[in-house]
Symmetry: D2
Amino acid sequence: MKHSFRGVVPPVVTPLTDSGELDKESLARSINRMIDAGVHGLFILGSSGEVVFSTDQRRREIIAATMEVVAGRVPVMVGCIDTETKRVIEHAKVAKELGADAIVATAPFYALGGLPEVERHFRLIHEAIDLPLFAYDIPVCVHTKLPGPLLLQLGKEGVLTGVKDSSGDDVGFRFLAQDNANAGHPLVLLTGHEIVVDGAYMSGADGAVPGLGNVDPEAYVRQWDAYQKGDWDAVRKEQDHLASLARIFTVTRGVAGFGAGVGAFKTALRLMGVFNTNNMPDPVLPLEGENVSAIEAVLRDRGML
Amino acid sequence: MKHSFRGVVPPVVTPLTDSGELDKESLARSINRMIDAGVHGLFILGSSGEVVFSTDQRRREIIAATMEVVAGRVPVMVGCIDTETKRVIEHAKVAKELGADAIVATAPFYALGGLPEVERHFRLIHEAIDLPLFAYDIPVCVHTKLPGPLLLQLGKEGVLTGVKDSSGDDVGFRFLAQDNANAGHPLVLLTGHEIVVDGAYMSGADGAVPGLGNVDPEAYVRQWDAYQKGDWDAVRKEQDHLASLARIFTVTRGVAGFGAGVGAFKTALRLMGVFNTNNMPDPVLPLEGENVSAIEAVLRDRGML
Amino acid sequence: MKHSFRGVVPPVVTPLTDSGELDKESLARSINRMIDAGVHGLFILGSSGEVVFSTDQRRREIIAATMEVVAGRVPVMVGCIDTETKRVIEHAKVAKELGADAIVATAPFYALGGLPEVERHFRLIHEAIDLPLFAYDIPVCVHTKLPGPLLLQLGKEGVLTGVKDSSGDDVGFRFLAQDNANAGHPLVLLTGHEIVVDGAYMSGADGAVPGLGNVDPEAYVRQWDAYQKGDWDAVRKEQDHLASLARIFTVTRGVAGFGAGVGAFKTALRLMGVFNTNNMPDPVLPLEGENVSAIEAVLRDRGML
Amino acid sequence: MKHSFRGVVPPVVTPLTDSGELDKESLARSINRMIDAGVHGLFILGSSGEVVFSTDQRRREIIAATMEVVAGRVPVMVGCIDTETKRVIEHAKVAKELGADAIVATAPFYALGGLPEVERHFRLIHEAIDLPLFAYDIPVCVHTKLPGPLLLQLGKEGVLTGVKDSSGDDVGFRFLAQDNANAGHPLVLLTGHEIVVDGAYMSGADGAVPGLGNVDPEAYVRQWDAYQKGDWDAVRKEQDHLASLARIFTVTRGVAGFGAGVGAFKTALRLMGVFNTNNMPDPVLPLEGENVSAIEAVLRDRGML
């Protein structure tokens, strides 16, 4: 495998124009800013990359524009996120055609099922696509928790290359990291919990996929470097700063979920001059008024403006 | 509006060939059987119609094949079920192009949000597509319960034509039916709870969308006719029969969710000679062995074989 | 068995004085009013009887005061609701000592467990107490759904005399009622779903435990009588009235759960002169101001004032 | 305040005799072993101390026996865990009478409610009992998550002395710890997540309440000492050992919840000669056969036998 997929791999937030088109100029600016900061990879079309809001055409545009800007400087993981196997494989074929370095898939969702279906889902995707496959464990969205022993088994067999853990289950992550180490480290384990990356590094994570890395990529890179050197005080200090910066999620009022979270990212990036707008995909509305001011205050407090 | 959408409107189960293609022969046989039994409409690409397992191309095939067989004999409602607004609208445009009489959409799913997004979602779909729009209330799949007052408001404004209720909330349905009656009956209220349709009729439902209607459409039509005449003993007697027939869901072992439910429908229809196979969409496997025998015993007990 | 426990068995709402003591005068007035209306039994110390808010001493007072007022006119079921087996058995012993005709217990709650513990819980209670035992299926409070097959098995063995179903699972209730009938009717099946009792009667319920029966016991008795005669139009008509009356739950603002539900009962009963106060147990506050006016308007509309 | 309540405060597992009585001999042995290892306090009648399985009389016995053994060597926190306010206050009065140094209470459970009731619940307990009050945040048992801002507000007002966090929400804990530090540290923040204590220390926890501390108290004390010295490599190394030891939870089969978790503690303590039996409270059965062997193997691997 040419890439290690270790380190800081931000999930790229997707900028839109005022009319709702992909804003390629802002996308290029944001990607270049993250690569210049030293991130080790990029993950496009993740949950915060508005994958489920994006039509097939829009997904193509995002992949193509990203690959053009990145130009091989870092590996690009592409979220192929959809309800069931055949739809995921369709997206994965497009991702491969457009140059993805790895694909990322969740458990099936919407239809009810059991673990046999989940396991077969990942096996079928792997059989269909000759690219490294990451399992995306995000029960808050798909309502299935991927069990650690299943992930490890699929890693040992070469079905999975790694896991992006957004499960919120830090105990399960610790057990998985320990089992993975004992098994010769078949899986690359990335945490999506941007606010407690230090804890995930204590547990042995191989990297992080922090949405907040769109806003402050340098801090996550510094944190990673400190982790590599065993400088835990620095790891923790960066996390304390990032937890303070993460208050952009909690200072808003009257919004929830994607609109609050990704809305805060887009608003921060617009305030910082990285994005041209903070426009959101239908049916979500952009943050405005006092919510924008509240985010601005957080950025100012953190020295980001 | 040309159609009332009242009465028995089975959600059409999708037959597959052994190789996983759409089995148009079986589909035609099943649809004709239901229309001959007197059903008042058909709902394709619902949850049990494996909509979320179907690629865009497969969805097109199902709609086109159905419209050709139905040939205007009953109205056809088409499920346009996907994660977020723009994707739903794309499906709805295809449905309209291929001749759908109404479209059916759920609340957004996967991404987290709130009721403002749910409301705007339905408004945007309605604005984009000039067809009657039904809200599909299925929290077990989308993890949002559509509140009765919101549904009624959207009905009064003409955004929604009706509701397909698969919420499992019989109290909420009673309140909604009563409020709808008091407001002049703007909404057509269809229950998806095939096992307690008699209770839904007591609450004032305008019809039913019973998956089990693929297996025994005559019984649901007899029940509807009894309801229209106020013959409640007959309504109840048909339901008792149908609840016994519904044991095809509970006699199987080692399967769950879609694989158990739609798997039972497909297996029953194959045993009855309506479907050529009981093949299931990836990653689900078809029922086999003792599970098939158990379903056969139920059918035999109910006089369906 | 001396009692059938069939018919209308309201869960008795517990009146408090302004200082939070048991208001025995109001309790007697309310109980006599329900017995005069023709109810077939009473269920004290249920969820709406504020059992979990009541200390052991308060529970004793409620049982004793009730037994004295009832004086054998109807059977009295006593909720022995607590976290785990030994605590439930302690309550059950007190209930038996004070003259209860049956006891009612939920699945264990707070501690996590599985079905083996649930089954053993009911068996141990039955072994310890020589009184008819009803299982109270209320997953919204205890977070375990009692499976129909387990209930039926315990009924066949004589461990359980009946089930009070507040599960919200009308499909499961239909299956259980059908299985129970096929097995010779070992269980008495009572529905707690006061707003859709007509549907439960369609499914074959042996009675109802409607909290709203504290407010309008006559209507539930008329409905039961109509059910016994097979007059389904009357069953339905009473239910429509009761669903309208149940708007006392939905017209309030800023309250939720027990405070909204039992708060509405107590406020209605105070407005109707049955209770002296609408005081609520700590930490819940009584309804006041516009919430009281809104409930008054519902009562007036329904001819209850 | 006489005690800081900082450091390692194991939740004491309750030993039973074969006939189900409190095994005071084993209790004394276990408590002395933990105090000798250097723990900074003890928490009795917590979830793993089988509080909800214990009658009032049993709760008294556990408190009295503990206070006698401890004899003031470390502070003792007593869980006063019950459904609603008045019942909790009754338990708290007993705890105070018997010499508790602090009391611990959860949000109300069983009855549904909202945050106003939760807030009033803690205020009423504080008003009634002149002892430090800890809020126990354990949504998996009580189905309410205590919001960080509410906890902090109650801390600032002196209603709460601290929080025992078993919420599983490591992000919320990080935010709370940061807010608490910024507010002058009014709350003592203890984590109950024994498998990721290192992460909680990174977040700034003031101590840990690890059930596994009954099995290996020395390791948690060493970890705390390392934390106090800023020796993060040692903090992490101890945690890796403890996560391996925690496999006593995952090597068993056919058991779940309390029976698996506390069952594993009791079985380990019996194997290690600390407890005389691994008996469990009704309706839970003790681990046996291969489950015991599996736990023995884990202990052996960790050098605990």
